[in-house]
Structures are given as structure tokens and as C-alpha cells.
């Protein structure tokens, strides 16, 4: 794929070279990254036996190649600098990415509206601002690949192919929701689209993702299916990276070379806890090499950069070379959830990242490189607006789950409810169903 590294990075130079809100060492790191003439992706091969992290620190000023402290012979060779007019993506691809991000943004905005109008309840965590990460990774998976997410999962579901109608219905708690109304905002699952959840507790989805990756390896080596090459992507946040499950899974993934990509959506805040106040070493990508896998840091506000990292790490996993840890520097424009007053984050920080809005960035890129014109982009926006409206109408019109649905799906095999006197299930026994479970 033709790359226009120079133009790409220089485009971003305007945006990200301004100060970031990280401590001094990190800002140096970020500045070095964006001023680098090399693409932002530097993955070493899996031979990471000698991983001198100190050498990585020493290299900080040299170039943006800080992904892992591998020997320089294994770094990606600098690609030839192309002319400014050559974009890294085709028009179709650009429009596809644009549409997906706009869908994510519009959907989440509508969620906020619906929440304040009393159509959905509980904890709703919106993804505004982080669209580049979801789009950049998920759009490059193929059918049969798996995605595992957290409670901030609406947009992951949409990117993976779950219909907006199904997601909105689920949020409204209707029977036509993707989980029949039983999951809610934080538990989006889709067997058809390979979405493994939707988890409320941070970190608990990572082992599940690991299991899906294990299944790929098992299918290949035990069940002897050569075509088994499904890749699993696990999304989680900066707060999760201090949790035991994260480290345990990094270990097992690297140990068994499982086809999994750990994508850290580092938006610097875990509700009200700043990443820098809770983490001894805030550079999460560094923790990959400690376990024997490449660690990559990428600008998560730029879908093209994320795309590049995604393509490489997905290909790596599919080739059987094992896991990758990708840290995406990103930001959520809204609070942690719709119940969060979001008082702790400084306005200047928010403004800094608002200026790096991934949708605006891609839009400008498409316009600059003449991949699309305003009319086309507007029509996409309109199309998405209609789609989201339709999703709301559908959800509104959908029925609520009937009471008889309460005991369904508790067990895959209803014998788990016990067998009654005549061989029928105990849930038909009046003593069991009397009370609130009136089924």
C-alpha cells in the first residue's frame, strides 16, 4: 500500500505538536513521534528475548521509533517519501471510514438525547472522541474475527456490524434488542457478528477475548483446520492496565502466541482518576515487551495512523506470530458516563483534544486530497442521521419484553431449573413461580 508518510505526519504535526497534557517526559515522547518522518508504526519481530527498556529510553530523542526497544535491524525500514498528493487510502476506503466514525458519533449523540428524555436508563458510557480507534481497528477485521469490549461498547458493536436498530432497541430495553433487552448498555453481544461483549467490570473481558484467541489456535492445531485464522481484538482502557487480569492475559497470550491484539484506549481518565495519578509507569505500550510481545504507541485521534497499526498487528496475528499491545492515545469528549458531571478535567485539556477531533481530521484529509467533496460528506452525514432516527423509531415502536421472558436464557439447557414430578421443568411448578417470577 502506498504510503505518504511525510504528508500524513506533517498534516498531523500541526495538530499534535502543540502541548499535550502529559508530564514532561511524555510530551517529549509525543512530540518526537509526530515530528518523525517515519510512519508511526514500528513493530519488531517476535524475537524479543533481549529487551533493554533502558535502550528505549535512550532512543527517545532519536526518532519516533519507540514501539519497542528491539535492535534497530528489526525496525521497519524508512519508506520512501512520496509526493504530497498521494493519499494513503482510496476514496472508497476513506468514505467508509468517514461513514463509520460519523455513525459512531451520531449514534452516541442520540443516546445522550434519549437518555435525558428518559428513554434509556442506568449507566450509559459514550464513546464520543474515540471513534478513530474503533473504526481504525474493527473495519479491518474480517468476518469470523472477534471483538471484545467493555461497557463503552456501543460503537464497537456498530463498527463490527450490529445494526443501529438492534443496539438502540437494546438500550431502550426492548425485546428486539441485540440481547433481547437483557443486557443493556454495558452488555452488547452478537454471536452473528463475533462481538463477545460488553462487560461491566473492567478487565473481565480480556480473558474472554483470550479464550476466543485460544480457540483459534486450538482449531488449527488440535482440530486440524488449516483455515482457522480468526483474530481477536480486545478493547479496554487505561484504568484496566493496572488490573491483574491485564497482566495475566499478556503473559498467556505471549506464552502461547495467541492471535489477539490488546488495544488500550488510553483516554487518560478512569472516571475521575487521572492515569498519571494511578500508574507508576504511565507508558502502557512498554508493558508489552516486558511480557515478550511488541508494544506500540499510536495517536488514537488519527484514524489513518490507527489503521496502519491495525493492519500490521492484524496481519501479524493472522500469520500466527502472536499478540501485540497497542496503546492508542485518545480522549473522550464527554464524561465517563451520562451521570458523570465531568468536573475534574481541565477545560484546556478538553479543548486540546477537541481540536484533534478524529472526524474533523479525516474530513479535512479527504477534502485536501480531493478524495471527496463537501456534498458527498454532507450526504453521508444525512444518511447517518436518517439511519439513527430510524433506529430510534424502531426502538420506540418495539415491544417491551414480556414477563414470560424472565426465566428464558438463564440456562442454555432448562434442566438447570430442575426436573419436576412429571419430568417437566420445575419452572412450571407453582411453588417456584409464585411470587415475583409469575411466569
Amino acid at each position: 500500500m502506498a504510503s505518504c508518510a511525510a504528508s500524513q505526519t506533517s498534516f498531523l504535526l500541526q495538530r499534535s505538536a502543540s502541548s499535550s497534557y502529559a508530564p514532561a517526559s511524555s510530551s517529549l515522547f509525543l512530540a518526537a513521534r509526530s515530528s518523525s518522518p517515519l510512519p508511526s508504526l514500528h513493530l519488531s519481530s517476535a524475537s524479543t528475548a533481549s529487551f533493554p527498556l533502558r535502550a528505549a529510553e535512550g532512543r527517545k530523542g532519536e526518532c519516533g521509533s519507540m514501539a519497542c526497544a528491539a535492535s534497530s535491524t528489526e525496525l521497519v525500514v524508512e519508506k520512501p517519501v512520496e509526493t504530497r498528493e498521494q493519499p494513503v487510502i482510496t476514496k472508497e476506503e476513506g468514505l467508509m471510514l468517514f461513514e463509520d466514525m460519523v455513525l459512531g458519533r451520531s449514534f452516541e449523540d442520540m443516546c445522550a438525547q434519549m437518555y435525558y428524555r428518559g428513554k434509556m436508563f442506568g449507566f450509559v458510557h459514550l464513546y464520543n472522541g474515540q471513534e478513530a480507534v474503533s473504526t481504525g481497528f474493527i473495519k479491518y477485521l474480517k468476518e469470523g474475527d472477534y471483538v471484545c469490549s467493555t461497557y463503552r461498547d456501543h460503537v464497537h458493536a456498530l463498527s463490527k456490524g450490529v445494526s443501529a436498530r438492534a443496539v438502540m432497541s437494546e438500550l431502550f430495553g426492548k425485546a428486539t434488542g441485540v440481547c433481547r433487552g437483557q443486557g443493556g448498555s454495558m452488555h452488547m453481544f452478537s454471536k452473528e457478528h463475533g462481538l463477545l461483549g460488553g462487560f461491566a467490570f473492567i478487565g473481565e473481558g480480556i480473558p474472554v477475548a483470550l479464550g476466543a484467541a485460544f480457540k483459534t489456535k486450538y482449531e488449527k492445531e488440535v482440530l486440524k483446520n488449516d483455515k482457522a485464522d480468526a483474530v481477536t481484538v480486545a478493547f479496554f482502557g487505561d484504568g484496566t492496565c493496572n488490573n491483574g487480569q491485564f497482566f495475566e492475559c499478556l503473559n498467556m497470550a505471549a506464552l502461547w502466541k495467541l492471535p489477539i491484539i490488546f488495544v488500550v484506549e488510553n483516554n487518560l481518565w478512569a472516571i475521575g482518576m487521572s492515569h498519571y495519578r494511578s500508574t507508576s509507569d504511565p507508558e502502557i505500550w512498554k508493558k508489552g515487551p516486558a511480557f515478550g510481545m511488541p508494544g506500540v504507541h499510536v495517536d488514537g485521534m488519527d484514524v489513518l495512523k490507527v489503521r496502519e497499526v491495525a493492519l500490521e498487528s492484524i496481519a501479524r496475528a493472522r500469520r500466527g506470530e502472536g499478540p501485540t499491545l497497542v496503546e492508542c492515545e485518545t480522549y473522550r469528549f464527554r464524561g465517563h458516563s451520562l451521570a458523570d458531571p465531568d468536573e475534574l478535567r481541565k477545560p484546556a485539556e478538553k479543548a486540546h483534544y477537541a481540536a484533534r477531533d478524529p472526524i474533523v481530521a479525516l474530513k479535512n484529509y479527504l477534502l485536501e486530497h480531493k478524495l471527496a467533496d463537501e456534498a458527498e460528506l454532507k450526504s453521508i452525514q444525512k444518511k447517518i442521521d436518517d439511519l439513527v432516527e430510524d433506529a430510534v423509531d424502531f426502538a420506540d415502536a418495539s415491544p417491551l419484553p414480556p414477563r414470560s421472558q424472565l426465566l428464558e436464557n438463564v440456562f442454555a439447557d432448562p434442566k438447570g431449573f430442575g426436573i419436576g414430578p412429571d419430568g417437566k421443568y420445575r419452572c412450571e411448578d407453582p411453588s417456584f413461580t409464585a411470587g415475583t417470577a409469575q411466569v
Binding site: Q182, E204, V208, V222, N251, G418, S431
Partner: protein, 411 residues
């Protein structure tokens, strides 16, 4: 009365003879019926196993004389003469578990095992011995020490099509996996609206052993019992161990199979032909009419030992091994209560919030009108299991307490 106290040993030896004088399945009743229990006090003393690791050496002097059937060989010939089909084979409980596991792994290539030391080491209680050599390192996976994560990994693998069995080296270690067991194992079928099934089996030894200390002597059945979406069974004999293992693996539900550290060396003759137990049915160990004794796991054997004394004194207890801890087999239990009108629950779980407490509530809800007396429940004390032998013995229910309770209940 009867044999000397049933002594169980963990690993490589048995202190005394092991009695399986309460064999319950039909083919075993051929050798031993309720009648013979009251009349001749025939017991089947298990002889020392030949050439098994962890074998038992039964000093013959402790065996009672006269009407007792004193060796297993005699039993074998007895059953052989009566049984129309094959006479079965003898094995220890851990071998029965392994046999069930192996048969299921041969039958379905998606069945795999994961846990600490299950592969090359063969399992710390040898349940998976030889399986890694046979099926490979990926099907019998040695995991790092990360219970929460590898249990979650089993859940993810089950969601995407495999049928994993998670071995907790000790049930207590599964406390570390509680997040995954409760949140994911139990819930995901429901929160996904039925899209994903989690056909996982989580098994491991629990219960009070021989001075293993508090943390290795936990009874976690009640901790998991509340989790919606989980099924739970407890095995107590080689026969039901193998049958329940197979049933649990074949079930589409997540099942917790509770084993007991001291029962692994129980010996029994089981059928050669394939059989699968029912996960939701209790086992009628001994029919009777005076009182219903509900028990499970190791306490079954304590109850049976107490029963010898009780039968001598003229009581006629109906003994039910509840097997299914969740859901309770209220059908079998109810039928028994309708007959006897008195209930004693004997369990190893703690008094507070234990399986017995939950069972008591269920019985009262459903069978209040049939009860002539309050339900009695003998449970372990609410203490962390002490190391000292005398104190440990006092923590769990012992046969004399059971005898006393029945006398109190029945008059």
C-alpha cells in the same frame, strides 16, 4: 459397631478399611440390599488394591467377623453370578473421574482441560494423569497460576465453540476466579439474550481434609450456589463421579462439579459399559420410613456409618445423597418427606448460609404440610478449619452426632 471408623487418606495410603456397604445402584443392590443391611450387617470391605498408586492397605484385623462379607472378591463372584452382563471393573474415585474425562475427550475433540499442573504433572490428585501424553499439551493445558484469567479464558473458549473443563487445584483457589465464575460463567448466556452458551465444567477438590489448614479446607459450594446460571453437583462415589463428570461435560450449561479431597481413594466396582448420571437427580442410597437424611459428598459416608448404629437400634432411616446442589431435586426429596415426615440434613458446609440452610428453606417452602417436626440440620462450625487434628475433627459433623440427632428427631 460395624467397621472401625472410616478413615480417609489423601494421597498414598489408607489408614483403615473403606466400606462401601451402601452401594445404591441396582446392580449393587444385588450384592447388598436394605434387608441385608438390617439383618446380616453385610458390608463390603474393600481390600487393598493391587498395584495401584495411592493404594489402600486394609489390616484384616479391623474387619468384623461372622456375617460380614470380608473381601471384595466374594462380592465380585456374587455379582458375577447374578449379573447378566459384564461384571464391571474396580477403581478408585480419582480413576473414575479420569475415565469419564478420557471417554468424553475421545468422544468429542472439542473437550479440553485447563488448569494448574493438569498436563505434565498429571493433576495434583492425578485425575488427569496420562491425558496430556495422549491428547497433547493443548488439549490438556498447563496454565500459569492465574485462576481468574484462565477461567475467563475457558469462558471465552466455550463461547466460541470449545468445551473446556477448568480444574481448580483446590476449590479454594477458585475464589480467585470468582469474578469470572459469577460474572461471566453464570451470566453471559443471559445477558447475551441466549446467543452464547457456556458449556464449561469447573471442577476441583474441596472440603476438609487431613489437617490441611484453613485455606485448603474450604467448602465453597454455598458461595457458588447463589450464582444464577450455574448448575452444581457433588460427587461422592466412583460410580457417580464418573457419571456426573460425563454428564457435566455433555451439558450445555456451566456446571460446577464439587469433589472432595478425602474421597479420591474410594474404591468401587463400576460397570464396564458406558453410563451417564443425571445432573439433576438425587440418589436414593438407602430406602427407609422413619426419617429422611439428606446429605452429599463426604458426609454421605459419615451418615452411612452412623446408619449402621441407628439400624442396630431399630431406626429405619431413608438416606438420600442429594447429588445436585443446584437445583435441588425436590421431586425425590419431596417424595421422601411425604413418606417419613422428618428431615435431617447432614452437610459439611458452614452453618451460616450453607447448602443446608438453603435446602431447609426450599423444603419448608414446598413441603411444610408434610413435616411433623422442625427440619434439623447438622453443618460444620462457622470457623476457619483449624490445623490441630482434634479441633479439625470437631469442626465437621461426625457419626456420633448424627446418631444423636436422629434419636432427638425420632424419639
Amino acid at each position: 459397631m460395624g467397621l472401625s471408623s472410616i478413615a480417609y487418606d489423601l494421597g498414598s495410603g489408607l489408614n483403615g478399611p473403606m466400606s462401601i456397604s451402601h452401594l445404591s445402584s441396582p446392580r449393587q443392590q444385588l450384592a447388598f440390599s436394605a434387608k441385608s443391611c438390617t439383618g446380616s450387617r453385610a458390608c463390603i470391605t474393600v481390600r487393598a488394591a493391587d498395584g495401584n498408586s495411592g493404594s489402600m492397605r486394609a489390616p484384616p484385623s479391623t474387619v468384623r467377623a461372622s456375617k460380614l462379607v470380608t473381601n471384595a472378591v466374594a462380592v465380585k463372584s456374587e455379582t458375577a453370578s447374578i449379573a447378566a452382563t459384564k461384571s464391571g471393573h474396580e477403581l478408585l474415585l480419582f480413576e473414575a473421574l479420569r475415565e469419564g474425562l478420557e471417554e468424553e475427550m475421545e468422544r468429542d475433540p472439542r473437550v479440553c482441560v485447563l488448569g494448574e499442573d493438569v498436563g505434565h504433572y498429571g493433576g495434583s490428585y492425578k485425575v488427569t494423569k496420562g491425558l496430556a501424553e495422549k491428547f497433547g499439551d493443548l488439549r490438556v493445558l498447563d496454565t500459569p497460576i492465574a485462576e481468574n484469567s484462565f477461567t475467563g479464558m475457558a469462558v471465552g473458549a466455550a463461547m466460541t465453540g470449545l468445551r473446556p473443563i477448568v480444574e481448580g487445584m483446590n476449590m479454594g483457589f477458585l475464589l480467585l476466579a470468582y469474578n469470572q465464575i459469577s460474572n461471566n460463567c453464570g451470566m453471559l448466556h443471559y445477558t447475551s439474550g441466549g446467543q452464547f452458551t457456556i458449556p464449561v465444567v469447573i471442577r476441583g477438590p474441596g472440603g476438609v481434609g487431613r489437617q490441611l489448614g484453613a485455606e485448603h479446607s474450604q467448602r465453597l459450594e454455598s458461595y457458588f450456589q447463589s450464582v444464577p446460571g450455574l448448575q452444581m453437583v457433588a460427587c461422592s462415589t466412583p460410580y457417580n463421579a464418573k457419571g456426573l463428570m460425563k454428564a457435566a461435560i455433555r451439558s450445555e450449561n456451566p456446571v460446577i462439579l464439587c469433589e472432595h479431597v478425602l474421597l479420591y481413594n474410594l474404591k468401587e466396582r463400576i460397570p464396564d459399559e458406558e453410563y451417564v448420571c443425571c445432573l439433576e437427580r438425587a440418589e436414593l442410597v438407602r430406602p427407609g420410613k422413619d426419617v429422611t437424611i439428606l446429605t452429599y459428598s463426604r458426609m454421605r459416608h459419615h451418615v452411612l456409618q452412623a446408619a449402621k448404629s441407628l439400624i442396630n437400634k431399630g431406626y429405619d432411616p431413608e438416606i438420600i445423597d442429594i447429588i445436585s446442589l443446584k437445583p435441588f431435586d425436590l421431586h425425590t426429596i419431596g417424595n421422601s418427606i411425604k413418606k417419613t415426615h422428618k428431615v435431617l440434613i447432614v452437610e459439611e458446609c458452614m452453618r451460616t448460609g450453607g447448602i443446608g440452610a438453603s435446602l431447609r428453606a426450599s423444603i419448608m417452602d414446598n413441603f411444610w404440610d408434610y413435616l411433623d417436626a422442625p427440619i434439623m440440620c447438622l453443618s460444620s462450625q462457622d470457623v476457619p478449619t483449624p490445623y490441630a487434628g482434634t479441633l479439625e475433627e470437631a469442626t465437621v459433623v461426625q457419626p456420633p452426632q448424627i446418631v444423636k440427632a436422629i434419636k432427638q428427631l425420632c424419639g
